[in-house]
Symmetry: C2
Subunit: 187 residues, 2 copies
DNA sequence: GAATATACGGAGTGGGGACTTCGGATGGCA
DNA sequence: TGCCATCCGAAGTCCCCACTCCGTATATTC
């Protein structure tokens, strides 16, 4: 299923479907219909199901793609010279990203849940990358040392969910983040 | 629709349906089927629809009930002599409640959204009650004064959602709360 | 303990959405 | 340019679920 098709048009369609799916499921949650994805991608329903035999597999592929992006960002930030800002930047970026991406966050939330699926690899990798960011920030004295990855993960998911669901203006979001950042600072 | 039926058995069924619905929708989200509610309540599907002509109305009724409970709790805490602990207690209680109550949190999240429905009154009342708790806690010097109801609301929703979705052990949840509480403390 | 309004449940009905089928188009290659 | 494997899309099929119909049961009232 995940193998790249040989013909150019098929490759193009696959890519377009993935792109549109991220948009559609991001806006409407995982209950958005596959047909809508097909229509917006400009292909027939059958084409979607040929590339991704199941709606769940399509969702999985979207998530893998998304987590890849996040991981890359985290890894490049992990090489920063300023571990403190790097950590908080990433935190803020994830939260900013979250707005309107319901389904993706939903899946992110399930990180610890379905540990067996291939989709779970993304969250695990991301978790690890965040762990590196966190450890470096703690070593640099920018984050309190009595907390672990679990707590940070919970906060990350929580704020993301909140932002994705509430009509929150820029200022209020920044304030909420500030509160959490203050809570994360060393005692 | 919301009028109490005249016959005793009907009243009983109505109450049982509401109770079961809170449980079912809390566990399975708002996509759980009405038929399941009927089965677990020990009534026919038609009976559910007689009392609540629409699935949405049933959900609405469940939410109104739930928010009533939360409001009462908040209001009784608002009369406490210790405004600081009262505020943080309520915060913790809501979060503890959240585990497994997906649909209710979903609706809570929409507080600012559908301002017109009757169901929106619950969130508004709750918001107001939380506002009182917050103000009193701030006056007592237990909560920093540079934040408002919006930020608290965002945090409340966020943590609740996170707890409801992540498999989070008791300790990690307490830690995440601790971080937020620290962030809420005066500078 | 009958009469009657009220309430009940099971068997539909209709629509929507995931997934399949199959005849037709088309990119890749000689 | 022509062949053919690959890929495509429109029109289904099937199932699930919200919601309705109607004959039956029972709480209430006298």
């Amino acid at each position: 299923m995940a193998t790249q098709p040989t013909r150019a048009d098929a490759r193009g369609n696959r890519a377009r479907i993935l792109e549109v799916a991220e948009e559609v499921f991001g806006r409407g949650g995982s209950t958005a219909s596959t047909e809508k994805v097909a229509r917006l991608a400009g292909v027939g329903i059958a084409t979607v199901f040929r590339h991704f035999p199941t709606k769940q597999m399509l969702l999985e592929a979207v998530l893998v793609r998304h987590f890849d992006h996040l991981c890359q960002r985290a890894q490049s930030l992990a090489e920063s010279d300023d571990p403190g800002p790097a950590f908080f930047d990433f935190f803020g970026q994830i939260v900013a990203d979250a707005a309107g991406k319901l389904a993706i966050i939903e899946a992110f939330t399930d990180a610890g849940g379905d540990v067996d699926g291939k989709a779970a690899q993304g969250p695990r990798d991301l978790r690890e990358a965040v762990g590196v960011l966190l450890r470096r920030a703690q070593d640099a004295g920018a984050v309190r040392t009595d907390i672990g990855l679990d707590e940070v993960h919970a906060l990350l998911v929580g704020v993301s969910r909140a932002v994705a669901h509430i009509r929150l203006d820029e200022r209020a979001r920044a304030r909420a983040l500030e509160i959490i950042f203050d809570g994360l600072a060393p005692r």
